[in-house]
Symmetry: D2
Subunit: 295 residues, 4 copies
């Protein structure tokens, strides 16, 4: 029986920095606490939202430990351990397991477009070195490689690769996954504006940074789906779709930081080259957030 520890809304915290460009761990833990208390069904540090690739090894380790300590087993944790080289991916996956992570997420980062053989070998090597489950993450826009359903099928034959996160932005891909991988495959939607379509298509969960800003809306949408109430789900989705589109268009770390400030929470500093949203973008975000609050 496959070990599939996640369902529902899996929340991605940002990694806040202080004014000296150091990771602000206490502030990070406040964000994690807020995500847990808001009802998130899982916490996923060191994703794209958490600017994983911008962090040093020591910073990644500190964020991993801070998450697990703060969450304290109230919900499962999913730690991002992707790295360009196989050796470093193994290193971080082992660190996460030892620190107490429930599972790890791995995207086949590729400066060079990896062949199918290279990708299978990469996952296989990492999987053989840990015993917690792995979520394989497909996001061609970020990784430069689009893992076909056939390739994902091969990955799922590795015993502890048990979950797929799909962010290609093409809803038809999810239909194909489900048809080709079997009705029982656990796939997760990573494309925010496809939240309704993906749940309609049978996604097990939704990986999202939006929960930093509008947790109740995200969770209510999931519950409407669970209650088989499409009309309510549709209504809730259209209430939040503009925010979902906005945070994707502007980049998750920048948009979430700005949104937190608008909601009265300290979002910390960004690490350069990332810059804060412009004034007009902040004002646009403010309008969107207010319109959601009034619904």
């Amino acid at each position: 029986m496959k070990n599939i520890p996640f369902k529902g809304v899996i929340a991605y915290p940002i990694t806040p920095f202080d004014h000296h460009d150091k990771v602000d761990i206490p502030l990070f833990q406040q964000h994690v606490e807020h995500l847990v208390q808001s009802g998130s069904h899982g916490i996923a540090p060191l994703g794209s939202t958490g600017v994983l690739p911008y962090l040093s090894d020591e910073e990644k380790e500190a964020v991993t430990e801070a998450t697990i300590q703060q969450v304290n087993n109230r919900v499962p944790t999913l730690v991002g351990v992707s790295n360009l080289t196989t050796e470093k991916t193994v290193y971080h996956a082992q660190f996460a397991e030892k620190a107490g992570a429930t599972a790890v997420m791995i995207i086949p980062m590729s400066y060079w477009r990896l062949s199918d053989e290279e990708i299978v070998k990469h996952y296989d090597t990492v999987a053989s070195k840990i015993s917690i489950p792995i979520m394989a993450y497909n996001n061609p826009a970020t990784s430069g490689v689009d893992m076909s359903p056939a390739l994902l099928k091969r990955l799922l034959e590795i015993p502890n690769v048990t979950m797929i996160k799909e962010s290609s932005g093409d809803i038809q891909r999810m239909h194909t996954l489900k048809k080709e991988l079997g009705e029982e495959v656990a796939f997760y939607n990573g494309s925010n504006p496809l939240a309704l379509a993906a749940f309609s298509a049978g996604a097990t969960g939704w990986c999202t940074a939006a929960t930093n800003l509008i947790p109740a809306h995200n969770i209510n949408l999931y519950e409407a789906i669970q209650n088989n109430d499409l009309n309510l789900a549709r209504k809730l989705f259209y209430e939040q779709v503009e925010l979902l589109q906005f945070i994707v268009a502007k980049g998750l770390p920048r948009a979430i930081k700005a949104g937190l400030s608008l909601l009265g929470t300290d979002g910390g500093q960004l690490r350069k080259p990332l810059l804060p949203l412009s004034e007009s973008e902040v004002s646009q975000l403010k309008t969107i957030l207010e319109s959601i609050k009034n619904k």
Copy 2:
């Protein structure tokens, strides 16, 4: 109040030819009769499925008249009148109106990529010459022009342009349409494999050729949505999605003709350059159809 005569499953008949490459009107009428009796909520001759652009003016007129006579007001009719030139589009729109069509469908066919101004002028000219409603049809793959939500908004200001058919294949486009054009806009999905996602997003109807082959599955899907039963809709969708993908991949007229033969109905001949499906394609289609029948 906008005149919006369609909802549900709008069925697209093929145009069958005899062995002398003449349109086989009696056979066409049998197909139409079958579509009506199977519960289709509307009949749409002279679409892409009906190889509109391959027909002479006289053939288009004969098909229009045969449809209206056969349907005999049991359900509304939506006649395709698209043409490369504005003058010919007006001609066919007027013919359809006079013949008794409920509405006409118009895609801005463009050998030359039309500007927004040219498209608005085109629709405006045709609209001013008829009084039945117009469905504006966006299908960049076919027409070579992608009508933006902003442009569609301008078209909807023309009084008798009351409906939009969207076939860009991007579900996010439907979300944007609904947000930008208002919750009340009537949009129709023309991309078969998006049937579930589009209904989830609030589509008023589904324009499809699949009804020639699996009418009950198409109509049951719509009814599940009407009954707010997402779980049932999802189950029904996955039962038919392979057929929906197949007929799109192989081309609707070719795939429908082959499917009709497999179901024991005469699909007539194709007009060249279109050729019948290969033997292996027919065999693949047979497997798909049998798998659906057994569900």
Copy 3:
């Protein structure tokens, strides 16, 4: 030995209309005469520039006859006879041959994306009904189908398919064509802004509407290449590249008509839905043309 009657600059006249939307044959013949006298190495009526798909059969026939009469064998003629159906393509190809055309150009127009088999059958059927050479034309943006080098190779096995016009806009395609089809294949560039790159890659000719406006610049570029003078060819190309980009971006019939007016020649009327360039576009074109004149 293959019959390859074209090289150099093959000029595409527009089809001008009068104020009653009739083809203005005398004006068309003036344009053709100007193209011949300016040194064009071939004349190609009824191309995209000549709005072939917007014309009735009678209009196509009149334009064909007017061209052949006016050119009067001073240079070879290449008549566009593409049609959606195979039967009509045969009809127009036979008409062109009987009227005295040197060769015909055929693009596999496809409302429905044609399979390789359908395309081969289409060309083969037409080729078997005429004895003059055929130029196969690849332009995915216009026809909706991208003929692969492998498919073009199959077409070249048909005895009177002897030339390829390539307008996919990808210079690497031309390299591949030359490698795969043999150094001796005659390929023609149909993408104006690639004129220099295509000649550098070994194109036999350049199919262009620019000759209506700047014949000397087009022909001088070809002659510099013939003289193996890349430095001069590059200089000449950069002098005209803005015009080449402009006429493609705005649509050839609209841009050429506007340019003719600016040069003091009557460009006639456009057939709707095509509309004249806007005032600001005309002004932009004026600046470009003046800048070329001063070089």
Copy 4:
């Protein structure tokens, strides 16, 4: 007067590893020596070919120093210092300057799609901390961001950003650069299969890994262009184009390593996840290399 130290063929060495996954510096220096002695006009370590992103800071520093020591001012050196964060990019740029690099190359690596403001700020910060020239590198496929001609124009206003390397693979982009940035802009082609087209368009140089395998062919092509002999350049280009296409399709480090072995030179090991070419790929490469040798 702009400081533009490169022209001609700029050679990219691979970074070879030993059997313990350590950078093999002595072997690397042999490769560099071969590139210099073969007539390369510049040496560019730590590019994509040199798997820059797969290296630790210490490895990057060792490669930088080994290059500069080995080249010993015989030709200029161009050191890759791109990094995801601005701070690390500054760090490596300063290291390269101090070590004696002639110039540095910087691509705006972006896990998150950077805004124009972020990119300008990134280059501006780095440029202000060094005094050697910077080559700004545009490669959307690798970096995830496509720098428009307008943005590149802004970058060129930074005093020591003096060169542009363009690898978008679209020859029209080079035409636009030259028109918009002025005839005097120094742009370099980074897309191997566009070598002939880019030189025809006026590229100052060609950044290539092919020189590891066929240096004479690369350099002869450049010299033919310098001698204004397009016919010879075209002949030389078609002799090598299959190799250029092959190394791009298979990934430069993998293909170069395999090619070196075929030529009797030790290419070292690859760092995982990169794997050697398959047997059939090696055999294909062998055929290509032999066919070139026989020309």
